[in-house]
């Protein structure tokens, strides 16, 4: 497969209306099929970068291009909270992007069922968010993001609020989905371990102002499983990334 750029940022700067300089001069190109993590301390603007890629906020200056970004459903977004509509069942929540795009109810329902099944939630279609655990809600959120078959999946610390066991399981399941569906993933996280386990490439950011300081590859093969999590290779990558993060926070 010829690497093609799915999303590119050139000299992107964002200054909020209150004067805060969120990010300055960010250059970043995300290749098709890649799994990229944006790693950095709080306030380094990684969420801002993600939201600009989604088109939810506009950059103050610089250029952002997302291939196919003109079509709805080409970008999936998973928020830090599950962000489900509490008044709708899991199925209705997953159907939302398709219904908003004007798809007929029957077809939308068929696809939403398939998406829920793909995240391991077959049988929970009729459950309301209130009756689901944190991990299950996040699975619904992922199903909703994937139901449109997006080219680009943007995730903003999706597992930060989950317990460790659930987080590991969802990391594994996310990788399985990524390998099966071949979307391009950009994953924002605070966690060195999570970024190493998931990504092929880690972009380390520093704060005040938010900027990219290092860009490192994690060249371990997929599928990655529990054996990778306990390997010396994994430990070495974690050490490298931790040191990169320390440098980012020291400067």
């Amino acid at each position: 497969m010829v690497p093609a750029t799915v999303a590119s940022l050139e000299g992107v700067t964002k200054r909020y209306a209150n004067g805060t300089l969120a990010v300055r001069g960010v250059d970043l190109a995300v290749q098709r099929g890649d799994f990229v993590s944006l790693l950095g301390p709080s306030g380094c603007g990684k969420s801002t970068v993600l939201r600009m890629m989604a088109g939810l906020i506009a950059p103050s200056s610089g250029r952002i291009e997302v291939a196919g970004g003109g079509e709805t459903g080409d970008i999936g977004f998973v928020f830090q909270e599950p962000t489900l509509m509490p008044w709708s069942s899991a199925l209705k929540n997953v159907m939302l992007p398709l219904r908003l795009a004007g798809m007929a109810r029957a077809e939308a329902e068929r696809r939403a069922r398939a998406a829920l099944d793909s995240v391991g939630l077959a049988g929970f279609e009729g459950s309301y968010p209130r009756a689901l655990s944190g991990g299950m809600k996040m699975r619904v959120s992922i199903a909703r993001a994937l139901v449109t078959k997006p080219r680009l999946l943007l995730m903003d610390e999706p597992f930060a609020a989950l317990d460790e066991i659930t987080r590991h399981k969802l990391n594994n399941d996310l990788l399985k989905l990524w390998e099966a569906e071949r979307f391009t993933a950009v994953f924002v996280t605070h966690s060195v371990f999570e970024s190493v386990y998931l990504s092929r490439r880690i972009v380390v950011m520093a704060a005040r102002p938010g900027r990219v300081v290092e860009d490192l590859a994690v060249d371990a093969p997929y599928p990655r499983g529990e054996s990778f999590r306990t390997s010396a290779e994994y430990a070495a990558h974690c050490r490298d990334i931790s040191q990169a993060l320390d440098r980012a926070m020291g400067t």
């Binding site: 509509m85 209130r130 655990s133 991990g135 299950m136 599928p223």
Partner: protein, 286 residues
Amino acid sequence: MTVTLSANEAADAPEENRAARYAGLTAEGWFRILAPTLIGVLALVGWEAVVRINEIPPYLLPGPLEVWRALIREWPSLSVSLLVTLQITFAALFVAATLGLLLSVLFAQSRIIEMSLFPYAVILQVTPVVAIAPLIIIWVDDIRLALLICAWIVAFFPILSNTTLGLNSADQNLTDLFRLYRASRWQVLRRLRLPTAMPYFLAGLRISGGLALIGAIVAEFVAGTGGRASGLAYRILEAGYQLQIPKMFAALVLVSLTGIAIFLAMSLISHLALRHWHESALKDRR
């Protein structure tokens, strides 16, 4: 390679409370009914005892049994009046709910409209209905319509202000999600803002139900002093003039029972509409 749910996640899912039920209610449910009932019975017995022991004449304070007899005796005229009051109350509540909802949706579409009109809604709310009821009764020939307008003025504001607040309370991330999928203004309203506003609207409806009754009664009093009414308030006035105090109490009891019934009806509507998702309707889950 398939993705499956872990036992850890499934175990974390909140379960419905499986407390034992007796004749359809939990022990706590029965307590919530029986405890206030017991207090009520004790109060009535005490009241009857005080009246009998002190031999208080019925034209000063009738005992509950005397009030009950008056209620039975006067039921033909009281029931007609009750119906009149109920009709005015529910018509006013219906108009208040419909107009309140429509106007709040209009407010939600534009800050300019909201800022221009909201102060007038406040003026309508803060002006005591007793003070303007005589004017309305003079201006509007149809007495029922006049009473309806008075009740509506009182009932309207809570629905308007609550629903407006609700429409502006949509979750920021969900709003972003709708933007990501390029939802139209109408889709955002129908699928996000209106459902978000639903609990607020229903809370407003619960307040307005009681207020519509109060508005109707107050307006009837004003109209009744002019001799032009037939609702429950008019019966209270009439009984007062004729010193039929037990009948006065009977009419008063009907007004209170009506208020309670309206409150319970609105609570039931609210519970049925929100039972699947809203915290307020999920008290029996842990």
